[in-house]
Symmetry: C2
Subunit: 232 residues, 2 copies
């Protein structure tokens, strides 16, 4: 593997376990509000509404942050599931995306990795959300980068280019770490090195996504394994 000066990471699913965290919060919100539902199904559908919502948001003239988008998609999903949750509990769930548990290897893996290349997030979550999320989970990168800084959303190529530019790197000097093939395909198109991290538990199924077929792809079992493969 040619030496990388920086590695940026997708966050939801790659570094943090959004699913079990949000299901727990949804069940607790339902309990408080006296509502029952198949919360796992609600949360999975909420997450499935996320890529198309980002795709629509990218075509809007004014950039809106993830909280705004998640408020809309949550309302839709709750309606579809016939669940009537009060507004304050909906807001608790929108804010739950700041309280996602990191995967067990995330904090130690990043500590090991950042002895080599600089590390950063590169998430569709906005900076304020990511700052809260890192503080909540107690893990560390050298800086927080977000699609917000390109006023767009992944997989827009401008997001990856902006990250490399802010890190003072050519795209080829930056690795993109993600558990999602689409993210890596888009990053590789811009010139970033694709680093696939298997996350079989992201959807609670035990089956990780298939790694994309990309030249120079690194496939790792977790962040610590990635650090080892990158010589850290």
């Amino acid at each position: 593997v040619a030496e990388l000066r920086a590695v940026v990471f997708d966050v939801f699913g790659t570094l943090v376990d959004w699913r079990s965290s949000v299901i727990d919060e949804a069940a607790a919100a339902g309990e408080r509000a006296g509502r029952t539902a198949d919360w796992a199904a609600v949360v999975d559908d909420w997450r499935r509404a996320y890529p198309p919502a980002l795709e629509r948001a990218r075509r809007e003239p004014v950039w809106r942050d993830l909280d705004a988008l998640q408020r809309e998609t949550l309302d839709d999903v709750l309606t579809r599931h016939g669940v009537d949750l009060p507004p304050d509990e909906r807001e608790v769930l929108v804010r739950a995306w700041r309280r996602l548990r990191p995967w067990p290897d995330t904090a130690p893996g990043l500590e090991r990795l950042r002895t080599g290349p600089a590390t950063a997030t590169l998430s569709n979550g906005h900076v304020a959300l990511l700052v809260d999320l890192l503080r909540f989970g107690g893990w560390r990168v050298d800086t927080v980068l977000s699609a917000e800084l390109a006023q767009s959303y992944k997989p827009d190529p401008r997001v990856y280019r902006r990250a490399a530019q802010l890190l003072g790197c050519a795209p080829e000097e930056v690795g993109m770490g993600a558990a999602h093939a689409g993210d890596l395909v888009a990053a590789a198109e811009v010139g970033l090195r694709p680093l696939f991290v298997r996350r079989p538990d992201e959807w609670g199924t035990g089956a990780a996504e298939e790694p994309p077929d990309l030249p120079g792809l690194v496939v790792a079992d977790d962040v610590a394994d990635l650090a080892a493969q990158l010589g850290c």
Copy 2:
């Protein structure tokens, strides 16, 4: 003191000792190149050329980073001092601003402070420079923010407003920590809470700047003292 949700910090002089660090690097560069000079005077004049260079840069149509500006001002200063340093050693000195030693209280003070409000840099140094600087000095904030993210330079009010916005805060919820009155006056005009940190050794004189006369001003002897005064 009303509770702050975030504190952003000036870096050069406030968190790191640029002067002794750059003088050491300049003396070493001179040694390698076989040039003698009053390196302390060169470095002090270089630093004095910094505010007017930023002021000029703010009026330029295309934003340029600190490396570009420091290259120009270093050439001017060396000419004025009659010092002929080869290009590669000049570049070493431009890059020396990524290798500035933190003040002794910086790392532990920030660790203590960030148990309360979120912490960030808010420097005229660009993101890539700051990432290197934090990695070099081994100190930590929750994220790196820079005037670069507003495509301007302090004391432009847009820099402070952009920082508050990226942190998801109203200006009143953000403290600005700096050893320089001008920075705090500009931040306070936008609504940030001014937090003055005395740095009597910034210019090697033993005399800190006078704190500005601002409502709600907090005056601290160092970052650890600031953390204590903010209840952390």
